[in-house]
Symmetry: D2
Subunit: 134 residues, 4 copies
């Protein structure tokens, strides 16, 4: 029910902690996994010519992650419109359930020419029941 | 007066554009360069046992960056307190001055034990005249 | 008995495949996992003041990896001396067992001052029975 | 006559040095810059439907790179065939000319279906005079 992975050595920085830019990639892991859990494959979406361009992100960092820590990203779909989706994320360390970061991302459905489009109706229908308001 | 660099091939993704996570790294390039332009070296700060832990970031994406585009990050220090600094960023493509993204980051001075500390007074003094309110 | 993970979206490039630099990071995942399977924790090694500096790597790429492909890194310790270790890697796609790449890495035990040292005797003893000659 | 850039904070790891995987990306910076210096734009090559798939890489690491070090990648084209190119690289720190790493990469021209093709004749002709045998 959540993406799980370990902090890679290459993700650490000279402060000895995971560099803050990795959390953006980890939110993406959470998002891809969430879609998969709903039976929706991001590759399938892209094969229909639709991508979810990232329009905005934010992250609040609460605690550091260290090399080889097992982390978990809990993802919810917090907003769903035909031209805008929003996901919220909680990133935590599995061993002690420390909350490491809270984040969100806003997405615009786009076509292969990188133009904003309406999210395909059958995807909207499938996701409509999955929205969790914060 | 700004960090300049080109989009790396490795920074692109299968959408054919620079992956959105790179902007977080590019903001860091802007921040490091800004400090250097003020005569303040981030390595010097770290050698005094102080780091600027990242407490929060946000980014709004306006347009895509492509492989080998020359980009420019304009950075301002928009808030300066002894326990909190905020930087704002504009990331643009040099060739046509397209604004690609707006971002900000909030930082907490920390010691080598990763504990919040007051920003050293001589750094505060030096930076106090550099604050640009938005 | 092997590191398993999925290709991240951020790891793809504009050719639509996983960028070749990621394989170096994936070899590291294989190495860390291999040590763990032997009951040897890389964090434990580092806490004894010893790191395994990378002295050389090579990689031969055989086939491409795509977004969300599940990959597997099989790692063997192919050489063990007090001042030099060598690991060999096979990276394959799990679904069809396609071999994607063959690689190797050579490591020099170093201390915290980044100087070459002898690998601690108790680690050597533990690893001596694990060497697989190619 | 060479790619120059500074080591990014995000490129460092918990050993306090630039992570070894970055050198693969830096070789790519050297290769792209080298082509540009010959008047050959890698984007132009790709727009003709040809990519230079990476078939193999190797790297020997001699010394560490640190945050904010200015580095230089010297690149030569050491082998040129219609179906195979080889580049060799020297990566050095600019300030003291310390050699940090030696590397090479082997490339196969491919089309958009990721199939091996002959390198376009006009590119071969242009590059034929640029080969530096080691």
């Amino acid at each position: 029910m959540a993406a799980r992975f370990r902090v890679r050595y290459a993700e650490t920085d000279k402060m000895g902690i995971a560099h803050h830019s990795n959390y953006v990639i980890w939110m993406e892991l959470g998002r891809v996994e969430w879609l998969k859990e709903q039976g929706l494959d991001y590759r399938q979406l892209e094969s229909e010519g639709v991508a979810l361009a990232v329009a905005a992100i934010d992250l609040q960092y609460r605690a550091s992650a260290f090399f080889d820590d097992e982390l978990e990203v809990k993802t919810i779909l917090s907003e769903l419109k035909s031209r805008r989706l929003r996901f919220d994320y909680q990133i935590a360390r599995v061993s002690d359930q420390t909350l490491l970061a809270l984040g969100s991302s806003i997405h615009i459905p786009t076509n292969e020419q990188n133009q904003a489009v309406r999210f395909p109706a059958h995807w909207l229908d499938e996701l409509a029941t999955k929205v969790t308001r914060g």
